[in-house]
C-alpha cells in the first residue's frame, strides 16, 4: 500500500513537471520544471530497486546536465517565448485533437493489455538486491552490452566534435 502511494505521488510529480516544461512561457522555468521531472523519475527508479540508476539520474541528469541547460539559457538571455503566427488555421485545435486521439489510444492499450507477457528477464529485483545493483550494471555493461556501450562512446565523441564545429567556426 505504502509503495503504491509512493508510486502515485512520484508519477504525479513527474507528469506535472513534464507538462510544466511545455506550458511555461519562460525557458528558465521550463528548465527548472524539467529538473522536477528528473527527480521524480529518480524516485521511480528507486522504487524499482534500481538505486544506482536513481543516483546517476540525480547526479548526471538533474544536476550536471540541467546545470548546463541553465547556464546556456542564462548566457544567451532567452526572454519569454515569442508569439508566433500559426501556419495553419486552427492549428492549435488540430494539434489538440491529434494529441488527444493518440493519448486515448495509448490509454486504452495500457488499460486493456498486460505488458510483459513474455518471460521475465534474467535479473528480477530480488536477484539484483542479492548481487548488488552497481555490480550487476557494471557487469552487464562490460559483457552483454559492451558493444552498445562502446558505440555510445562514439556517439558522445561525435557530439563533442559537432559542438566544436558549430561553435568554433566564426573565429576562423
Amino acid at each position: 500500500m505504502a509503495s503504491s502511494l509512493f508510486f502515485y505521488f512520484l508519477a504525479v510529480v513527474t507528469t506535472v513537471g513534464a507538462i510544466a516544461v511545455v506550458a511555461f512561457p519562460s525557458p528558465l522555468y521550463s528548465v527548472l520544471a524539467l529538473i522536477l521531472t528528473f527527480l521524480g523519475l529518480a524516485g521511480l527508479y528507486l522504487s524499482l530497486h534500481a538505486q544506482f540508476v536513481a543516483i546517476v539520474q540525480v547526479i548526471i541528469y538533474a544536476s550536471a546536465i540541467m546545470m548546463l541547460f541553465l547556464f546556456v539559457v542564462m548566457l544567451i538571455n532567452l526572454g519569454r517565448e515569442e508569439k508566433r503566427e500559426l501556419q495553419l488555421p486552427g492549428q492549435k485545435l488540430l494539434g489538440a485533437i491529434a494529441g488527444l486521439a493518440v493519448f486515448s489510444v495509448l490509454l486504452k492499450i495500457f488499460l486493456s493489455t498486460s505488458l510483459m507477457t513474455g518471460k521475465k528477464g534474467s535479473f528480477p529485483p530480488e536477484r539484483v538486491d542479492e548481487l548488488g545493483n552497481t555490480q550487476v550494471i557494471g557487469n552487464l555493461l562490460l559483457t552483454d552490452y559492451v558493444l552498445p556501450f562502446q558505440a555510445m562512446g562514439v556517439l558522445l565523441f561525435v557530439g563533442i566534435v559537432g559542438a566544436v564545429v558549430l561553435a568554433r567556426r566564426r573565429s576562423r
Binding site: 493489455t113 510483459m116 555490480q135 558493444l147 568554433r168
Partner: protein, 492 residues
C-alpha cells in the same frame, strides 16, 4: 558473481572499427596541418574506407545465427551486402567533397571525420538484430549528419537545413524509441529473434501494445528514409546542405534505415500483418507525390531531392513485397540500393562540378543548358545517370527496378506494381528533360572560366567509377545479382 564474456568475432567487427579509427586519426592529424592543407586528410579517409571495403568483401558471411555480442552484431549476407553499399556511398562522399569548391575554406578534419563516424553508425544500424543497437547506430549517424548539414555556416539556408533536420530528426527518434519501448513492453525482449519467438509462442503479446509500438517505429524509420507522409523536411534540408553532404544523406541513411525496416518486419512475420496496408499506402504516396512535385522543380538539386524521395518509394515497394515473397524482394532491394549509390552519387558529382563553374555556385536547371557543347564528357556522364535514375535500359536502374517490380508482382501486389510502373513513366519526363536541356539548348553563358579545382582528379575518379558501375550493373548484372540473392538469407 561470475563474469561471462560474449562471443566476439573481431575480424567481422573490423569494417566498423576501421572508420572509427580513421575518423580519430583524421581529427588528430588535422590539428598539425597548415590551414587549407586537405589532401592528407582525404587520402587517410579514402584508405580507411577502402580497407574496410576490402575486409568486408574478403570476409565470408556467417550464417544468420552465428552472431557476436549475443545478436547485437550480426555479420550475415544481408549485412555484408549493405556494408558494400554504405562504404561505396561514403567513398563517393569523400571523393566529391574533395572536389566541391564551397567546402574549400571549411575545416577538413572535422568534415571527413564526421563522414567516417556517420559511416560506422550506419553500418552498426544495418548489422544488428537488436533494437537497442538499431537506435544507437541511428543516433551516431544522425548526429553527424545534423552537423554536416549546416557545415557551411555562412549560408542561412545551411543553418535552416541543419536546424530543421535536427529538430524534426530528434522528434522522429523519439517516436522510434517510444515504439521500441512499447514492443519491449509487449514482448519482453529487444532482440528481434527473441521477439519473433515470443510473438509465435504467446499470441497475447501480439496485442494492441505491440502494434502501436510497431506503428511508432514505422513513423521513426519512415522519417529517416524520407517516406511520405514524413518527407516534408527532405527538400529543404537537401537543398540547404552542402551538395556533397546531400549526396551522402540521400543514400547512406536510406540503406541503414531500410535495413532496420526489413529486419523488423521480417521478424514480426504474421504479427505485423496489419501493417501491410499501411506500408502499401506509404509506398504509393511516396512515389506519386515525389514524382508529381519533382516535375515542377527548376533547381536541379531540389529535383534530385524529390527524386531521392521517389526512389525511397520504390524501395518501399520492395519492403511491401517482402511480406509475401521475402527472398526476391530482399535481393531486389539490395541490388536497387547498390545501383542507387552509383547513379545518385554520380549525378550529384556532376552537379558539384557544374556549380563549381559558377561564381554563385547555383544549381538551376538553366545553368545546364548546352552543357554538351562545352563539357561533352560531363554531359554524357550526366545523361547516363539520368537514364539510369529513370529506369531505362541498358543501365543498372533498369535491372534494379525490374527486380523490385517483379518481386512485387510475384508477391501478388498487382496494383502496387502498376502504380510503380506508371510512376516510373512520369519520372522519365523530368529526368530526360535534363538531358534535353544539356544537349538541345544553347549555352547561356555566365560560367566563370576558372582554373580547374585542385580536387578535380577525385571527381574524375568518382565519375569514372560511377559511370562504369552504372553501366556494368545494367549490362552484366548476373554476378552481383547472385551476390544479392545469396545475401537474402538472414534469419527465420
Amino acid at each position: 558473481m561470475d563474469i561471462v564474456y560474449p562471443t566476439i568475432h573481431w575480424g567481422y567487427l573490423l569494417p566498423v572499427i576501421l572508420p572509427v579509427c580513421g575518423a580519430v586519426l583524421v581529427l588528430m592529424w588535422d590539428a598539425f596541418l597548415a590551414r587549407g592543407e586537405r589532401s592528407v586528410i582525404i587520402i587517410i579517409s579514402l584508405l580507411t574506407l577502402a580497407a574496410a571495403l576490402g575486409v568486408t568483401l574478403g570476409a565470408r558471411a556467417l550464417p544468420g545465427l552465428a552472431a557476436s555480442f549475443g545478436g547485437m552484431y550480426l555479420f550475415d549476407g544481408f549485412t555484408q551486402f549493405l556494408y558494400v553499399v554504405i562504404l561505396f556511398a561514403s567513398i563517393f562522399a569523400v571523393l566529391i567533397a574533395a572536389a566541391q569548391r564551397e567546402l574549400d575554406d571549411t575545416p577538413a578534419g572535422e568534415y571527413f571525420g564526421l563522414i567516417l563516424f556517420a559511416t560506422s553508425g550506419m553500418m552498426l544500424m544495418a548489422a544488428t538484430r537488436n533494437l537497442l543497437m538499431i537506435f544507437v547506430g541511428l543516433e551516431v549517424f544522425s548526429l553527424s549528419l545534423y552537423v554536416l548539414a549546416g557545415y557551411l555556416r555562412a549560408r542561412p539556408e545551411g543553418n535552416e537545413a541543419s536546424l530543421k533536420y535536427f529538430l524534426l530528426g530528434s522528434f522522429a527518434s523519439g517516436f522510434l524509441l517510444y515504439g521500441m519501448a512499447l514492443v519491449y513492453g509487449a514482448t519482453g525482449s529487444v532482440d528481434l529473434i527473441e521477439i519473433a519467438t515470443r510473438l509465435h509462442e504467446n499470441p497475447a503479446s501480439r496485442g494492441a501494445a505491440f502494434l502501436m509500438g510497431l506503428g511508432f517505429m514505422v513513423v521513426g524509420l519512415g522519417f529517416k528514409v524520407a517516406a511520405a507522409p514524413f518527407y516534408m523536411w527532405t527538400p529543404d534540408v537537401y537543398e540547404g546542405a552542402p551538395t556533397a553532404v546531400t549526396a551522402f544523406m540521400s543514400v547512406g541513411p536510406k540503406a541503414a534505415a531500410f535495413a532496420a525496416f526489413f529486419r523488423v518486419f521480417l521478424s514480426a512475420g504474421d504479427a505485423g500483418g496489419s501493417f501491410d496496408a499501411v506500408l502499401w499506402v506509404m509506398a504509393v504516396l511516396t512515389m506519386s507525390l515525389a514524382n508529381l512535385i519533382a516535375i515542377w522543380q527548376t533547381c536541379v538539386k531540389r529535383m534530385l531531392a524529390y527524386s531521392s524521395i521517389a526512389h525511397a518509394g520504390y524501395l518501399m515497394v520492395a519492403l511491401v513485397a517482402s511480406r509475401s515473397s521475402a527472398e526476391l524482394a530482399t535481393s531486389g532491394f539490395l541490388y536497387y540500393m547498390l545501383v542507387y549509390v552509383f547513379m545518385n552519387m554520380g549525378a550529384f558529382c556532376v552537379l558539384i562540378l557544374i556549380s563549381n563553374m559558377r561564381e554563385d555556385g547555383s544549381t538551376k536547371l538553366d545553368n545546364l543548358a548546352g552543357l554538351a557543347s562545352f563539357r561533352p564528357g560531363l554531359a554524357a556522364a550526366m545523361a547516363v545517370f539520368m537514364v539510369s535514375l529513370s529506369g531505362l535500359p541498358p543501365t543498372g536502374g533498369f535491372v534494379a527496378k525490374f527486380h523490385v517490380f517483379s518481386a512485387a508482382l510475384n508477391g501478388g501486389y498487382v496494383w502496387l506494381t502498376v502504380i510503380a510502373v506508371l510512376n516510373s513513366v512520369v519520372a522519365v519526363y523530368y529526368y530526360l528533360r535534363l538531358v534535353v536541356v544539356m544537349y538541345m539548348r544553347e549555352p547561356q553563358g555566365g560560367e566563370v572560366r576558372r582554373a580547374p579545382h585542385p580536387g578535380w582528379s577525385y571527381a574524375a575518379a568518382a565519375l569514372t567509377l560511377a559511370v562504369a558501375s552504372t553501366l556494368q550493373l545494367g549490362i552484366f548484372p548476373s554476378s552481383v545479382l547472385d551476390f544479392a540473392h545469396r545475401s537474402t538469407v538472414f534469419f527465420n
